[in-house]
Each structure stands twice: as structure tokens, then as C-alpha cells.
Symmetry: C3
Subunit: 186 residues, 3 copies
């Protein structure tokens, strides 16, 4: 009897079943153990903005260069970044951390990218890092990348982060909203 109650509680707290369109297929919805929303701001070096730039092209295919994103939907351009993280969508808000890593464009036909980066925190609020990898089909309204680990306050964490392009200006400024959902918390 006690075991049955335990199982029920576990099911209730860990997984909630909901029926999808196809009655035969069930989607399990898990509840995050921690959830954080941030914005980060990417200003790409374009040859004129060296003071404000937070990112730079460091690799390009044979037909490209490192000042301007190349043709073919920027296929092959690789960018290194150190972007401020803010709590709201204002570039000039006080940063609460840095998003540091790299991305590259990886499809000739449309814009898609692949990302490896860390959120690095060193404030009274958060100390430590969250590490992300995954593909970013950036023309989709939302897209998910994996949280593959963390350190400090985010020791050993895992999860999924949902990216959304919140704003962009030409090919120089991008603002991403990141909804970090952690499902393994230590």
C-alpha cells in the first residue's frame, strides 16, 4: 500500500502524461527542477565597430572572408563570442554574466547554425557556469539546444534551453532569449 502511494507521488512529481493529437502517442512533459530566463546580445565585428563588437568571424570557407559573413547563407562562417547576458531585453542593462563560446553557420540553403557555449556567472546571484551544445535552426521561432553540464551553482546540471531570436539589426546585432530548463539538479 505504502509502495503504491510512493509510486503515485513519483509519477505525479516527475511526469505528467498528456494525450497528443494521435491518441496512440503520448508525450511526457517533465517539470524542470530549475528554470532561468536570460537574454544575450551578440554584436559581430564588421570592420568598423571594434570597440563595441562582442563577436568576431574567425573561420570562413574558401569563398568567404573574416570581415563579412559569406554568401550561401553564411555557410562555413565560424564566430567566437563573449556576449553580455542581461535579465531583460535591453542591451544596456547591467550584465549578470557572459555568454562565451562559438557558433558557425552550417547550411547552404537556409540559415542554420551550431552552437557550443557557456553561460558564465560571477555575481551574488549566481556563481558558476552552464554548458550548452546543439544545433540552432535560427529561422524557426523557437529551437532547443542541450544543457550538457555545469559547474559551481550549476554543478552537474543537465537540461534543455529554448532559444528565440528576440531582435536583430542587419547582420551585426542579434539578441537571443534563452529559456534554460534544467531537469537534473544536484
Amino acid at each position: 500500500m505504502g509502495a503504491k502511494i510512493l509510486v503515485s507521488v513519483l509519477l505525479f512529481s516527475l511526469l505528467i502524461f498528456r494525450s497528443s493529437g494521435a491518441p496512440s502517442k503520448r508525450i511526457r512533459v517533465y517539470r524542470p527542477c530549475k528554470r532561468l530566463v536570460f537574454y544575450f546580445h551578440d554584436i559581430l565585428y564588421d570592420g568598423t565597430n571594434s570597440k563595441n563588437a562582442t563577436a568576431a568571424i574567425v573561420g570562413a570557407p574558401a569563398w568567404g572572408n573574416r570581415i563579412k559573413l559569406s554568401g550561401q547563407n553564411h555557410f562555413g562562417n565560424m564566430v567566437v563570442f563573449d556576449d553580455p547576458i542581461t535579465l531583460d531585453n535591453n542591451l544596456h542593462s547591467t550584465p549578470v554574466g557572459r555568454a562565451q563560446g562559438f557558433y558557425f553557420y552550417d547550411k547552404k540553403e537556409i540559415f542554420t547554425a551550431w552552437l557550443g557555449f557557456s553561460f558564465v556567472f560571477n555575481s551574488s546571484e549566481h556563481r558558476g557556469s552552464i554548458n550548452f551544445v546543439g544545433n540552432d535552426p535560427l529561422m524557426n521561432k523557437t529551437r532547443d539546444v542541450s544543457v550538457v553540464g555545469g559547474t559551481g551553482d550549476f554543478f552537474m546540471t543537465r537540461g534543455v534551453a529554448t532559444l528565440m531570436t528576440d531582435a536583430f539589426e542587419g547582420e551585426v546585432y542579434f539578441r537571443l532569449r534563452v529559456d534554460v530548463k534544467l531537469y537534473e539538479c544536484w
Copy 2:
């Protein structure tokens, strides 16, 4: 009594012990919760095949360039790719997804590489992504990389993927067989 049966079933389904050559050392063999086999096809841009190429050199050491893989076993060449994934080893089969990411050659003495990539699915069969990182000593018949996360149908998954070079033509076409073994399924 019931608990004992449960433990037995758990042991049977999760781990099978088998003795290795050295009797003192035991190798645990785990059974995947999901297993998938795919092929992906990498066609490297060589200056002449821009229409068919699915990959391009974007980084090179000082002694290299971005049209031709460099000497010293291509040490330092970095490649970005968007390769079709097929269910069989035929390049012209209908793709079921894309393998998107990067690899670089990382040893002067023999061919070895390091990979970071995603399998991206968006079909009736599979939706979501599987994220991989790891070293690829590509002269070995098989080699293992880590599955570090996933999204959608592969939410939060972890595992090991065994790569095998199924075919290659010169330095332009590579076909990899990937045996994805997932040991954490949500």
C-alpha cells in the same frame, strides 16, 4: 520476496555481467533503451564541386589552405558540414535528417579527428535532435563518441555512438555508419 524478484529483473534488464580474459576484471554490458543505425554522407568542397558539396574547410593551420586538406595528416584542418542522413548506405536514398556540425583533424602522425555535431530530424518518424561530441581515431575500424544530450523525441538522452567508415573516395567523399546506442531515455 517481491523485492527480490524486482531486483533480479532490474539486474537482468539493466546489466549483464560477463567475464573477460582476466578473471579479476569484469566488464559490465548495458543494454540500450533505444538503438538506431544511420549513415551520413560527407562531400567536401574541393574548389570544383560547389553544387554537390555538403562540407567545407573553414580553418587551416599556417601551412594549409581552405581548398585542399593540408599535409601532416590534415592536422589543424577544420570542416563545417551539413550532411544528409540516410537509413541505408546509398547516398541517393531519401534523407531522413541532417548531420550538422564540425570536425577537425588533430594529429600530425596519423589521421585522427574530433567531432561536435547534431543529428537533426524533422519527419514523421523522428522529430528533434541528438547531440554528439568526441574524438574519432578514424583509422580504427570502429570508434565511440559520446551522445551528450538531445531534444524533442530525444529529450535529455545520453549514450554512445559507434562510428564506422563505410566508404570513402579520395579526400572528397566519406560515408559514416553510426550505431547510436542510447542508455538514458526520458
Copy 3:
């Protein structure tokens, strides 16, 4: 009574609570299931040392090149490496494996880097690989990156690795001490 002792032992072995500055905040300390300490040795190609070099610049921002690390704290320089791993801090000790991967410098104001790499073992002691990703604020005495997976003897492992710059000579030789703490062992 027995249960109480068990709980005490569990608490003692798995987590030690210690009070931080703020009395309301508790830090849990976990004990690794496996712990390994290694050194690895990075000798960067500088145009003159092609025989000894274990690493090479393969990407650079527009203002840089691939022979010399660029200004602005090397921001944007990307390096591929195949470094010997030793058990002590002597470069000439017999390597027990190779550290293979890449790093890039990612901040204009101070030295920071981001790493993706594997420890690759193929000896009687260890077979398999450990995969790491994370940010490396290399001016800090110690810094943590994530162990995101492993293969072979390190099948499916996860953890945290603490990096320490053990020595360096100019911008060519770096020696890192790595304290690998694994918290998920299969």
C-alpha cells in the same frame, strides 16, 4: 537504530553540509566515484618549432594570423591540439594518453578561453575516452569544466574537471594540471 547509522553514513559519505557566509545558504559537497589527476602539455606552433609543436592556430579574427596569437588578449584565435598526457608535471615523462581537441580565446579584455577536448587512453591502465567542454577563465588559479561523457573504461561518465595552469613559457608552452572528478560512473 540501524537505519539511523545508515543515514549518518550516507550523509557523511555523500554530502557534507558546510555553512557559507550567508547562514541561509548551504553548499552540498559530493564525493567523486572516481578521481584522476593528469598533466597535459601544449606546445603551440610559432613558425619555427614544427617538429615539437603539438598545437596550431587554425582560426583567427580579421586582425590576426595563424603564426602568432593576435592582440586583444588573443580574442578569436582558435587552436587545435594533440597534447601528451603525463602523470607528473614532466613534459618528457612517458605519455599515458593524448589530450585532443580545440580551444579558442574569447574575450578582448582579459585572457579567457573555451575548450572542447577528449582525453584518449589506450594503455593497460586505461582504455577509452573522457569528453570535456567548458569555459576556461585562465587567469583564475583554478577553473572548472564539465565532463560530458565517456567511452570504454569511462563509459557514460559525467563529472567536473578542475584545471590549473601548472607552468607556461611565453606564448608557446602551457602545462595544465587536470583534476578529473567523476560523479556518474557506470
